[in-house]
Symmetry: C2
Subunit: 477 residues, 2 copies
């Protein structure tokens, strides 16, 4: 159960513990905490209510005395009764349903990260997102104004998405060498949703997906939840070798050729050619996840693999999340029309299309010049941050770790000179207010990397975070 925004009142003449007991009763009476569910720990309740732990303890004891709660050492406090109901009966067995569902839960560390990101003052050293400081508030204001004049209704949209947006995406793709008519483009709610649709729409249960190791794909559950297997090949700067691939009998090859998550690597032009040629030879479909393409910091990026794809081998993914704003939830998939048709049909079945409002805003951004200007500004800022990060790391972690600076994107893949208990490091850092992304999220066997991102936290915070972690690291070395 998560953070509540209720707080007891200090001024009135009802004692705080009494207010807490009443609040919990109401949670139970309204079915929000049904009989059988477990309460958050005393520590968490005290934090959320903003009170001393002793007030929580008093309230819980009172409710236990009334027969409403039951506490057991080790397993926490449970709701056992709702005495005010006349016909005492049990609620549905939600907890076994929650466990029974088809889709696997997120990795517990990812769940923790998702939650802790919203703890105030947390220093986020690994967050894969642009700093909120760079949000282009004024341009967005102008875009919203223009868009509100253009929109004459916000109905359910065409299966593939708003046509004006698909036309703009088609034009943008042409600028990076990809020929794709609007009918070969599906608008999605971020590139993540594209992966989900591919998983549900194109693969049989038990299919194998090849990928680089480490990879972003190991940190999410989309494919595994649908019963797919991930087979990773060690990532060598240049991607992975096809000779070892042939034996894996895979259904799909997933790659992030530009500013790889988490390593930051940029695949060379030759390697791209080779990879595409091999996949063509093997008739192996390829997902090219290119969401970081625009964030090059040291000059031009080789053309996408998709630009050379004359056979329809590549499904190409793009997104506005990493350059403009993840909160728009706008991305795209590009591929052979029959495949796009199939994915569009499943998209209609899962959410009837992405927010039309977001789609209009995205179209307007792509259409007008200020998008280019925004990208340039972001790149400039990222270049500064990358240099700062390098300096800071050398100063505090230089004795224990190595890294290469990436040519673009957000990430530095820091390698410690010996294996570390990453989970422990994560927990300790969290207690000191620093959120880390351990390498094990991106490669289950990893014990010696952290994914840092220089994009999110402001320079000072970043330095403070690195210093705090240095204090912890000292004990491990």
């Amino acid at each position: 159960m998560s953070r509540s925004d209720w707080k007891p009142q200090r001024e009135g003449n009802v004692p705080v513990y009494r207010q807490i007991a009443d609040h919990i009763k109401e949670k139970i009476a309204s079915g929000q905490w049904p009989v059988g569910s477990r309460l958050p720990s005393q520590r968490v309740l005290a934090r959320d209510f903003g009170v001393n732990r002793s007030s929580v303890v008093t309230a819980l004891e009172e409710l236990a005395a009334e027969g409403i709660l039951e506490g057991r050492v080790g397993s926490g406090t449970r709701v056992v009764n709702d005495t005010w109901s006349l016909l005492p009966s049990l609620p549905p067995d939600w907890s076994s349903m929650v466990d029974a569902g088809i889709h696997s839960p997120n990795l517990s560390m990812i769940r923790k990260i998702n939650e802790e990101e919203f703890t105030p003052r947390m220093i986020r050293l690994g967050t894969g997102e642009l700093s909120p400081e760079w949000y282009p508030r004024e341009s967005m204001g102008r875009v919203l104004q223009r868009v509100s004049r253009k929109i004459v209704s916000l109905g359910y949209e065409e299966p593939k998405g708003l046509l004006p947006l698909r036309q703009e995406i088609s034009r943008y793709l042409a600028s990076i060498g990809i020929t794709a008519a609007p009918s070969s483009i599906l608008v999605v709610s971020g590139a993540l949703q594209a992966l989900q649709l591919i998983s549900l729409g194109l693969l049989e249960k038990g299919s194998t997906i090849l990928l680089e190791k480490p990879s972003y794909l190991f940190s999410i559950r989309v494919f595994q939840s649908a019963g797919m297997k991930l087979t990773g090949f060690p990532f060598r700067r240049e991607g992975l070798r096809m000779d070892r691939v042939r034996h894996a009998r895979a259904s799909l090859y997933y790659t992030i050729p530009s500013f790889h998550n988490p390593t930051g690597a940029l695949m060379s032009e030759e390697r791209r050619r080779e990879l595409l040629a091999s996949c063509e030879r093997e008739r192996l479909p390829l997902i090219e996840d290119d969401v970081y393409r625009e964030l090059s910091l040291d000059g031009p990026v080789p053309p996408p693999l998709k630009a050379r794809d004359s056979k329809g081998t590549v499904l190409y993914l793009g997104s506005l999340s990493k350059v403009l704003a993840p909160g728009l939830r706008i991305g795209w998939v590009v591929g052979p029309e029959p495949v796009i048709d199939r994915l569009a049909d499943i998209k209609m079945q899962t959410d009837y299309g992405s927010s039309t409002l977001s789609q209009w805003v995205a179209a307007e951004w792509l259409a007008e010049g200020s998008y280019r200007a925004h990208v340039e500004r972001v790149r400039k800022e990222l270049r500064k941050r990358r240099a700062d990060a390098d300096r800071i790391l050398r100063k505090y972690w230089g004795d224990w770790a190595d890294w290469e600076l990436p040519a673009g994107g957000f990430y530095i893949w820091v390698r410690f000179r010996k294996p570390l208990p990453l989970h422990r490091l994560f927990e300790q850092a969290l207690r000191r207010g620093v959120l880390l992304n351990p390498g094990s999220l991106y490669d289950p066997g990893d014990r010696s990397h952290l994914r840092l991102s220089y994009a999110y936290a402001p320079r000072r915070e970043w330095e403070r975070g690195v210093r705090i972690v240095a204090d912890l690291l000292r004990d491990f070395f």
Copy 2:
């Protein structure tokens, strides 16, 4: 493959058929129509390109002569080669992948409807959506302006959705008798997505879902695609009887108590009490899909079942789609916190949350008074439309069909006095430019109903549509 927006140029000196042939070559060369894929029919290509069929035939013949296309009577034209590539090789076997995916395709009639809705000048007699004329353009303009001042960044959001929106939803729910803290609420991209999350998150494969027959749920594939079974009980005005339910060993009960889709029925207060009590007794979780609640046309609606739910038996669904704008893609699920936590986790895994922009706009609408004013205006218009529809139906279909006017919502469930070949009627009407929603979409065995909606098409169009269908009906009676 769907509508293209490319058109040949009339002015130049390249003949039209030549332009078409070149365009098709480019589609193939860029992998958009890979080797092995099937072209749209000559009729459809001619329509999409805006040319005579003879120009299409000439172009296809030329490409066949070049060995690029191959036509076979009955099975259409296929891409067989891309002669310009040096190493001729086959693309991935997409067509078998498209067939292999886990998620079932939409019902073909639904796919057809999704597509034809965007054919210009189509008269949509059954569309479950407010008329675009009623889109509150000015209020939305003001909301967007206010919102653009409030938004200071558009990052990834908390798993359960934007807190200010959840607070507004919590306040709105209180106004209809439901107690739910923001932590018991999950924001979703429309109520449809809530169903998808429940299907992936709470049910084992092979679970049975009980529902009214007919029901909206039969027209979508969310549960079936995840391997669930739907068991419908005939719908009698008042919902369905619990005695017959006990034997079905179901995992979930799905109901639309207010202005049911497709029948328009409103469940009485007594029946609601009974239903909830029975589900509590059976410990059977209940989904209350209440997306039409605000659209009452004849006075107050009984409180939601959720308002009486002290055990946490009910998952409650709401949405802004039917009252404000489906294009916002904003809805909500309310339930016991551990269940909401689980659904939020899966939501993060599928799309990292709904559009933050849409969430801000939704919060602003709910917070300010103009939402109420908008709802009142919509109700007034719907009342007029309902009366018009009744008059028009009596005039044109009175000899062949019966119906009851609903007390709210959009739908009239028209029953013909004898069974009809609904699929044929659908096809014939479509050819005359009228889109229908046959009863078989909502109950696979139905042969005598149409779901009409008085909400979408303007009065004149509606009348024209009904008249056109009357001409067709005459032949069946």
